[in-house]
């Protein structure tokens, strides 16, 4: 792969470590409106980065563009050593398998058990009936799925239908499914949004644990100021489709961040 030209911000921030994600000149235009306006940033591996911004600032679009669930209009993305923009469909499938996504809505299959839903994560590297339902899965896949469920504290609910679980438990099953992928990078789109404060905190702790213990990289969107400050190493602020804030979390102060959580931040 040709070496990508990294944005100057990334070079200034981390010259010694190969970035796990480098974005250069990324734009996305929807119906004539520029949602993302030439974004440049890079992330170091093994870090938790919070992406903040008001509603409509382009955070979710950015996350989707990174794995081409939404096709960028222009710009370059290098993630996990691959030039994402030029990937062919089958290469894109293999690339996506290495990127775990935690959605605001857990997006589990409601009528299936927690175990079957977690086993779906293995479709990142295995296809066919053995990856579709827990009853057809080989013993080693079932064992790994149970380990993932145990990791999120739900091994005892493996047989429960996911639509019988609480919102927080469903989100944890979604994280277990994501772990089953064996991802190298995690994108999380407001994983704490529909949860009560306590459960939201537990989910964020779980995600940060994956960064600290497993060395995964995390880019997480959150609308909760306290979570942004507590569970990130770095904060990126998006306003009007541009990076308007980029600083280590230790240097952030709550008052300065507050404006990125309200409408004035987007103005």
């Amino acid at each position: 792969m040709n070496a990508l030209i990294l944005p100057s911000r990334a070079l200034a921030g981390s010259t010694l470590v190969e970035p796990v994600l480098a974005v250069a000149g990324l734009t996305k235009v929807f119906s004539g409106r520029e949602i993302l306006q030439g974004l440049d940033f890079a992330l170091s591996p093994g870090q938790s980065t919070a992406l903040i911004g008001a509603n409509g600032s382009g955070k979710s679009t950015l996350l989707r563009c990174l794995v081409r669930l939404v096709e960028p209009t222009s710009g370059r993305i290098a993630m996990l050593g691959q030039d994402v923009i030029t990937l062919r469909p089958h290469e894109l499938r293999r690339f996506r398998a290495r990127v775990g996504i935690v959605w605001q809505r857990h997006n589990l299959v409601p009528r299936l058990s927690a175990l079957s839903n977690v086993i779906h994560g293995v479709q990142a590297r295995m296809s066919g009936p053995r990856a579709w339902f827990q009853s057809l899965a080989p013993a080693d896949v079932r064992a790994e799925a149970m380990t993932c469920l145990a990791r999120v504290g739900l091994a005892d609910r493996a047989s429960a239908r996911v639509d019988s679980l609480s919102g927080g438990q469903q989100q944890r099953v979604a994280i277990a499914r994501m772990l089953m992928q064996r991802p190298a990078f995690i994108l999380a789109d407001e994983p704490d949004a529909s949860l009560d404060p306590q459960t939201g905190q537990e989910v964020m702790e779980l995600l940060l644990g994956l960064v600290r213990q497993d060395g995964l990289s995390l880019l997480v969107i959150s609308h909760r100021l306290e979570h942004t400050l507590a569970y990130s190493d770095r904060i990126l602020g998006l306003a009007n489709g541009r990076i308007a804030l980029d600083l280590p979390t230790v240097q952030a102060n709550a008052a300065a961040l507050r404006r990125f959580f309200d409408h004035e931040g987007a103005a």
């Binding site: 997006n107 779906h120 499914r177 992928q181």
Partner: protein, 266 residues
């Protein structure tokens, strides 16, 4: 009373185009009834003939169950035709439905073709399909099974496609984002979500098949309908009534059974 307390008009004001449409519909209804519906005196004469000493009803009652054994075997054949045709139709309806679903079809052209085929299968009556398959395969239950199968592809294909269309796209998107194959997304996400709808449609299809298979014999496609036609042709109206009653019992039994399964599964 102030303007603020005035209630809205009782009827919405209709424009001229609406009145024209109403008038056309009314004219269509009146002309259709006048042209085709039986007159009152014709209806009275018919009912009088029905209950006359040599009338149809008088000759039908009491029903003649003397040939109950061969009729029962034919009834079983009718049920088997319905089950086989329905099963095959449901199996083939699934791929057609997938190809006809917006989110799952590989290409808009493929989707349009699949929808057109489903519409064709659904629009042509099963009796016409039976005649076509009798020409192709000859008289007998095989033609009936094929007719039921094609009819069920049209029936279930449409409802399966609608069910898949209405599923929550979230789980499918999540699996696609993982890198799951198209088939993986369909089987592990779409099918489980559609299971209640698929079950209900399949049971309705079975009921429809049993009702339809009884009539297919009238054109020679096997089953009890053949015996019914023969009974009418030979003026054995009492035996015809026995066949009709047994067909009714079969249809009610299947409907009750499928209703029970539906309540248990869904």
């Amino acid at each position: 009373m102030t303007d603020a307390t005035l209630s809205p008009p009782r009827f919405r004001h209709l424009g001229l185009p609406s009145y024209v449409v109403l008038l056309v519909v009314l004219a269509l209804v009146v002309s259709s009834v006048a042209a085709t519906a039986p007159s009152a005196d014709k209806l009275v004469r018919g009912i009088t003939r029905l209950f006359a000493p040599s009338g149809l009803f008088t000759q039908m009652v009491p029903p003649d169950f003397s040939r109950i054994e061969p009729i029962s075997w034919k009834l079983l054949e009718t049920l088997q035709m319905a089950v086989a045709g329905c099963f095959l139709g449901l199996i083939f309806a699934v791929p057609f439905a997938i190809l006809a679903t917006d989110r799952l079809s590989p290409h808009p052209v493929v989707r349009s073709i699949a929808r057109a085929v489903i519409a064709l299968f659904r629009t042509v009556p099963d009796l016409v399909w039976a005649i076509i398959f009798i020409i192709i395969m000859g008289l007998g239950p095989a033609a009936g099974v094929m007719a039921i199968m094609v009819d069920k592809i049209g029936f279930a294909g449409r409802f399966f496609a609608e069910a898949m269309e209405e599923t929550d796209p979230g789980p499918q998107d999540a699996l696609r984002a993982i890198g799951a194959s198209r088939l993986g997304v369909i089987v592990s996400s779409v099918f489980p979500a559609c299971l209640p709808s698929f079950t209900a449609t399949s049971l309705f299809a079975l009921e429809k098949s049993v009702r339809g298979s009884a009539a297919l014999g009238l054109v020679g496609a096997g089953g009890i309908g053949v015996d019914l036609k023969v009974a009418f042709d030979l003026f054995n109206y009492d035996e015809a009534l026995a066949i009709i009653l047994l067909m009714l019992a079969l249809v009610i039994a299947v409907e009750q059974g499928s209703g029970w399964i539906r309540r248990k599964l869904i």
